[in-house]
């Protein structure tokens, strides 16, 4: 089993530009330490239509109003997430979709960086196995540690979970095992596990060897327990 940079075609060049956008890094830094409820706020705004801030403050009173003052919620962080999410929403449908994907990948990388040495953390990598035709699509994030490799596919929403995705992840795990290697495939979805399970329920592709990380359990990527809702 070996890892390789993905070929740089036109799509990857354009997408690399989005991944490198400062807004992606800013949003990922904010979501890294956000509460689960603040992550839902970001998801709602970046899925939504309203690009004015006040309606969102009304819709999420526990993150902005006097109710926020009684808990662990940082109103300052909520405001920063609101502002950054609105910037993404303002980019227009096509671009916002690409930004959302890049943000999930960037958050995943940031959380993994708390647990994994920086030199082992890579993105947009293919995994090659002897005698096996390489998959076309690279993995969004990889942890390249001998004997304990991990491959991540990141999705904005549960609807992104498809048979192809599940097969690719499980095939990688199986091929690694055939070579006596250990590879943990992980599906990271910036959506509630309940929605993911609905999506998975009608999939026949293998999934038992693939770990699912959803919006409420993102902190597990960093090796820490999910925090209580706030």
């Amino acid at each position: 089993m070996r890892f390789q940079d993905a070929a740089r075609d036109a799509r990857t060049v354009v997408y690399a530009g989005i991944q490198a956008d400062a807004l992606v890094a800013r949003m990922a830094a904010l979501l890294d330490d956000a509460t689960p409820s603040q992550r839902v706020l970001a998801r709602a705004i970046m899925n939504g239509e309203t690009v004015e801030p006040e309606p969102w403050r009304v819709a999420f009173p526990r993150l902005f109003g006097r109710a926020a003052g009684s808990g662990d919620v940082s109103v300052e962080r909520s405001e920063a997430i609101l502002a950054a999410s609105l910037e993404v929403a303002n980019r227009g449908d096509q671009v916002r979709s690409q930004f959302r994907g890049a943000i999930v990948e960037a958050v995943t990388e940031r959380l993994l960086a708390r647990r994994v040495p920086a030199e082992a953390l890579r993105h947009e990598r293919r995994i090659l196995f002897d005698g096996v035709t390489a998959e076309i699509h690279p993995y969004d994030v990889t942890v390249e540690v001998p004997g304990a490799a991990e491959a991540y596919d990141c999705k904005w929403g549960a609807r992104g979970i498809s048979s192809d995705v599940l097969h690719q992840l499980d095939d990688a795990r199986a091929h690694a095992a055939e070579e006596g290697e250990r590879l943990l495939p992980v599906l990271v979805v910036f959506d509630a596990r309940r929605s993911c399970e609905v999506r998975l329920a009608r999939q026949t592709a293998p999934r038992t060897g693939t770990r699912l990380v959803s919006i409420e359990t993102l902190d597990r990527l960093a090796g820490r327990r999910a925090v209580a809702p706030a």
């Binding site: 709602a44 999420f60 526990r62 509630a192």
Partner: protein, 99 residues
Amino acid sequence: MTSLPVLAERIVDAIGRLVALAEAVDDEWTYIHDLEAVWVARLRAVAADRVSEAADSTIEPAIDQLVVESGLITDPHRAIDWLSTLPQATLVAFGEEAW
């Protein structure tokens, strides 16, 4: 003060409108209805547990705003996203776990 079950039903109605919009995506018909079923059940379960509780004064405006926001959705694909997002945001407004 409006009760939580009443507010939850406003969201259930909004979910119903999103489902009607999302049904235009033919190959996601089953997923759409499965999503509706599990999230409506979750919202009603939360509401039933807090049936005698009057909603905090910030909750009703929050729910009304979420209904307005979901009503702005006109794209069937975006409606599918909102079928998952709207219940999560509602549960946050209720002070519940969003899942």
